[in-house]
């Protein structure tokens, strides 16, 4: 009798293990962060800019993109981007302005909302940057993406 009881216990244990193995992995908690894209132009007015960001598409997704509120740029629409870039691992963000009062110095050009999964902490990195002044001449500038703290 005890022999059958042990066999039954082993079968139940195996069944429980197999059921647990079939369960889908629960997604780990995501973390949503807001980042600000800033371009340093020096003293040159920023008439046009374009930044390419690269990130790990397996752990990161861009869930929101909006303007940074720089002077002279429109405020009612987002910068130009390809929606495919929101989850493709790389994205180009760009904009230009024909206004007379263009910003210079440290220009806040865009705000990105990111979803970081599986404990990821790495933010997208700036791969390339293009900056041009009013006559269309390109100049050397730097871009940084920083998490915005509230």
């Amino acid at each position: 009798m005890r022999k059958y009881r042990n066999m039954l216990a082993i079968m139940l244990l195996l069944f429980a293990v197999s059921v647990h193995a079939d369960e889908p992995k629960l997604a780990t908690a995501s973390r949503f962060v807001t980042c600000v894209l800033v371009i340093e132009t020096g003293d040159k007015p920023l008439a046009a800019w374009q930044v390419e960001l690269r990130y790990d598409a397996a752990t990161t997704a861009i869930v929101g993109l909006e303007r940074g509120g720089a002077t002279g740029y429109k405020t009612d629409t987002a910068p130009r981007y390809d929606a495919r870039g929101l989850t493709a691992g790389r994205i180009k963000i760009a904009d230009f302005s024909l206004a007379d009062d263009l910003p210079a110095g440290s220009v806040r050009v865009a705000v990105l909302h990111l979803e970081l999964r599986d404990g990821a902490t790495t933010l997208p990195t700036v791969h390339t940057i293009i900056a041009a002044t009013t006559d269309g001449a390109k100049f050397t500038a730097t871009a940084t993406l920083k998490e915005e703290t509230r």
Binding site: A48, Q50, D82, G85, K92, I93, F96, G136, K138
Partner: protein
């Protein structure tokens, strides 16, 4: 018999043709009036009977006239026949075009597994103007900016999107090309 006891003319002629001895024939043998009627009918019949005519001899002019007549009749009959033929020709041409079209489609479908999609004839480009306005061998946001300035300063720009208009949508087209992300692999 008629009302005055004489057989009518049909009965008299009928009994003569069959030569039977019926009542009308008996009456005819004794009635001078009917005998006169029959004699008159025989004379009329012989007078109206067609005489033996020789076969007509066609002269050359008559032959030519007949040939002309036949040609004219043929010409009169030709239009409806031509209409039918035209319909047949159109139907045959349509059928041939359909067969050729199906053949070409089948040919393309057979070639695709071996050579990839058979390229179609590309539509003519809406414009021959290069989008690389600053000449740096690439299309970026600066090109879109320069086109926007050109549109603002001169009021005109290339029709880059092919919609027949020269407006801000063409600038948008260049800007979208600048930020385009390819579907898979490859560089920008």
């Amino acid at each position: 018999m008629t009302n005055d006891d004489h057989p009518d003319i049909d009965e008299l002629m009928h009994c003569l043709d069959r030569e039977d001895a019926g009542e009308a024939a008996a009456h005819l043998r004794t009635c001078a009036h009917c005998q006169e009627t029959v004699a008159t009918m025989r004379a009329l019949t012989e007078a109206l009977a067609p005489a033996d005519m020789p076969a007509p001899a066609w002269t050359a002019d008559e032959d030519a006239a007949m040939a002309s007549f036949i040609a004219d009749r043929a010409a009169e009959l030709r239009p409806p026949r031509r209409g039918i033929l035209r319909f047949r020709r159109v139907a045959m041409a349509a059928a041939a075009a359909l067969v050729v079209g199906i053949g070409l489609a089948a040919w393309r479908a057979q070639l695709e597994p071996y050579f990839g999609p058979v390229p179609s004839i590309p539509p003519p480009a809406p414009t021959t103007v290069s989008l690389d306005m600053d000449g740096d061998r690439g299309i970026d946001i600066v090109d879109a900016y320069l086109y926007a300035r050109q549109l603002k300063d001169t009021g005109t720009i290339g029709d880059f999107n092919g919609d027949g208009k020269h407006d801000e949508r063409d600038v948008d087209t260049v800007a979208q090309m600048a930020v385009h992300v390819p579907r898979s692999g490859g560089d920008y």
